[in-house]
């Protein structure tokens, strides 16, 4: 949605609010599609359905970039939220980066086509779900930062909880992989994918830590 020519103060604010909501919706949606894509890959490999999910995540990522740039330009052009502008833009950029990780992971599945043995499927799915829930909690924390700063702490707490969960699952999964009879190169290849998926949760936690600081600054 392009920015209309001239808007009054409140019209402009409402417009940017909608843009930010749309951006966060995109991050949340990309996580759910990534989750579905991993399940599809595990059951069908890089099928057309998987590629459709990849295209959808890519579309959301491109859209996220566009919205972020528009919001950035609007905030600076009209000197909106001067005291918190830098924090808001950093938050959007960091959250956009999570979108990028989902997209990159999908591409890695298509390019590298890891052969994941069935015995690890459950853990891969569980890891992906936990990571996506972690990112989703971060999205909720970001929404709360804009509307209800009292709730940021609660959501941030969930981000940290799910990140720890994801770490535990990835450690368990990597231990199982390296304890299996698979050749070393396959073990290393699988470990790489476990770590890439887990990276989203780690990145979400980093963003949550920064968000906690922004929240302190935002409080009166």
């Amino acid at each position: 949605m392009a920015m209309p020519g001239r808007l009054n103060l409140f019209g402009r604010s409402r417009h940017i609010e909608r843009e930010i909501e749309e951006f966060l919706d995109g991050v949340s949606e990309a996580g759910l599609i990534f989750q579905r894509a991993v399940r599809t890959y595990l059951s069908e490999g890089p099928s057309q359905d998987f590629r459709d999910d990849l295209d959808e995540v890519s579309r959301l990522e491109t859209r996220g970039d566009q919205i972020r740039r528009r919001v950035e330009a609007e905030l600076y052009e009209h000197t909106l939220i001067p005291d918190l502008r830098a924090d808001v833009l950093r938050l959007l950029e960091d959250t956009d980066w999570l979108l990028g990780i989902f997209q990159a992971n999908c591409y890695h599945f298509v390019i590298e086509r890891p052969d994941i043995p069935k015995e690890f499927h459950r853990d891969f799915i569980e890891l992906t779900e936990t990571v996506v829930t972690c990112v989703d909690s971060l999205v909720m924390a970001a929404r709360a930062f804009f509307r209800n700063i009292g709730a940021v702490r609660d959501h941030n707490h969930k981000v940290i909880f799910y990140e720890t969960e994801a770490d535990m699952i990835s450690t368990r999964l990597k231990t199982a992989i390296f304890g299996s009879d698979l050749p070393l190169e396959r073990k290393i290849h699988l470990r790489y994918f476990v770590e890439r998926i887990d990276d989203s949760a780690n990145a979400a936690e980093d963003v949550a830590d920064e968000l906690a600081i922004y929240t302190i600054k935002r409080s009166l």
């Binding site: 409140f10 604010s13 409402r14 609010e17 005291d83 918190l84 009166l220």
Partner: protein, 494 residues
């Protein structure tokens, strides 16, 4: 108008310009410095509302300064304002925090000393006490407002962007209020000393609005402040916004609102009227320092937000200004008056003489004055307030109230009610009954002001002062203002 008159007004206009250049930043500094409000918008709002505040509500604080010392010659008023302006300039350069308020009070005391007038210590203590209360009150109000705002925002889920839009609007509204309060409270500093010698005359606009000479003076002062805002305040606003007040726009809004409330409270005759009607004690109408009110508000916010301890060095710095500024201004004013009188041959004050005539003695006795102790002064004339106050205090213990009473009754002020002048005048601010009573004085002459007041009170109840209570304060003030008009119109000599 004589060009010399305009020349004498320039020192007051300079004071106004410097007030506009410096103090507008207290109202819009953070908003402009942080880019929330554009400078041109801020300057326009400040200019318009400062003038409105000065013209509509500026008389309350001016009267207090008048009570401290009534500068009764235009060159004297020029010198007092110039001394205050120079003190502010000089001490600012020396890095001492100063306010125009403190400088002008010092300058008036300097004039009192030079003209051998007596400074009313009750008024002086009232003014100094208010200076001390002002930042504390601003801090308390700011802390309370911030707390209320935090509670309000907790109950409402307002989006950050929406809140930003509301804050912008609120900063503009409160900026207008702040500018109005600044004009109302601080115009006395700018042209207050010129009020007793105002070169303007009352006139009517459109047949319904009486534009008094004092309001014309306030308009001129307000314009000088507005010019100061437009020409020089941008630099100060950017400094204040970036360095001195590192507040969020919302906290800045609280600080400006607290500052504006304090300035308004100490300037509003309307509020005084409401409190008086409710039988509550009234708040003194005293010009206070806008900068110190803002500093007080910021300290209050800091204490509430971060539990910071009070910054004693900062307070000591402000306190030093309270003492150093009036002393410096008084000294500069005294020396300048000496030079103006003796080198440039200007009359910097109109001598006021006092006389303890039998009538004055009788009147003092009727008021409960211990007359027996000063019986040997009966019939004596005194060339200044200081000499009569000195003679009285040598004989009886003299409280500030008694001294004020004695000066009021003993002051010699000749009035003659010429029939021609009486017939031609139709003052708008007098009621028909008051005017009728005034006309009954045709052909009479009086030696003291109080005799005129008594004569008028005998002829019409509308001229009578009521007992000196809080509820009657406004009525009495109005009568006093009308009596001043009569003295100005029918006074002779001097």
């Amino acid at each position: 108008m004589d060009i010399a008159v305009l020349l004498f007004l320039t020192s007051g206009l300079f004071l106004g310009w410097s007030l506009g250049a410096n103090d507008a930043a207290n109202v819009f500094g953070t908003a402009v410095g942080s880019g929330v409000v554009r400078f041109r918008t801020a300057a326009l709002i400040t200019g318009v509302f400062v003038i409105l505040g000065a013209v509509i509500s500026g008389s309350g604080t001016t009267q207090t300064l008048g009570d401290l010392g009534s500068v009764n010659a235009l060159p004297g008023a020029f010198t007092a304002a110039a001394a205050a302006g120079f003190t502010v300039y000089w001490m600012t350069r020396a890095g001492v925090p100063v306010s125009t308020t403190q400088a002008i009070v010092g300058a008036i005391i300097g004039w009192n000393l030079f003209s051998q007038s007596v400074t009313d210590t009750r008024v002086l203590f009232k003014i100094v006490g208010t200076w001390m209360i002002c930042p504390v009150l601003a801090g308390l109000i700011a802390a309370a407002l911030l707390h209320l705002l935090a509670v309000f925002l907790k109950t409402r889920s307002i989006h950050l962007l929406r809140l930003d839009a509301y804050t912008r609007l609120a900063l503009i509204v409160v900026g207008a209020f702040g500018a109005y309060s600044l004009g109302a409270n601080n115009i006395a500093n700018v042209v207050g000393v010129f009020v007793p010698v105002s070169p303007f005359t009352d006139f009517r606009i459109g047949g319904f609005f009486n534009f008094t000479s004092v309001q014309q003076l306030f308009l001129l002062g307000g314009l000088a402040i507005a010019i100061g805002v437009f020409t020089y305040s941008k630099k100060v606003m950017l400094t204040v916004g970036a360095e001195i007040l590192p507040l969020s726009p919302l906290a800045a809004w609280v600080a400006v609102l607290a500052h504006s409330i304090v300035l308004f409270v100490f300037a509003s005759q309307g509020l005084e009227h409401l409190l008086a009607q409710a039988g509550l004690p009234t708040i003194p109408l005293v010009p206070v320092s806008s900068s110190q009110a803002v500093v007080g508000a910021v300290v209050g916010i800091g204490l509430l937000k971060r539990g910071r301890t009070i910054q004693w060095p900062l307070l000591a710095h402000i306190g030093a200004g309270w003492v150093a500024t009036p002393i410096a201004a008084a000294a500069i004013c005294f020396l300048s008056l000496f030079v103006l009188q003796n080198v440039f041959d200007q009359r910097v004050y109109r001598p006021v003489s006092y006389e303890l005539t039998p009538r004055v003695m009788a009147r003092l006795e009727a008021e409960g004055f211990p007359i027996e102790g000063i019986a040997n002064l009966k019939g004596r004339e005194f060339e200044s307030a200081r000499s009569i106050a000195g003679s009285l205090s040598e004989r009886i213990p003299l409280t500030p109230e008694m001294r004020s009473q004695a000066l009021t009754y003993a002051e010699v002020f000749h009035t003659s009610f010429f029939p021609i002048r009486l017939a031609s005048m139709a003052p708008e601010e007098l009621s028909p009954q008051q005017l009728a009573a005034l006309r009954q004085l045709s052909g009479r002459s009086y030696r003291h002001k109080w005799q005129v007041a008594d004569a008028l009170a005998q002829r019409a109840p509308e001229w009578r002062l009521r007992p000196d209570t809080t509820v009657n304060k406004l009525h009495n003030r109005r009568i006093q203002r009308q009596l001043e008009f009569v003295y100005r119109t029918f006074g002779v000599g001097g």
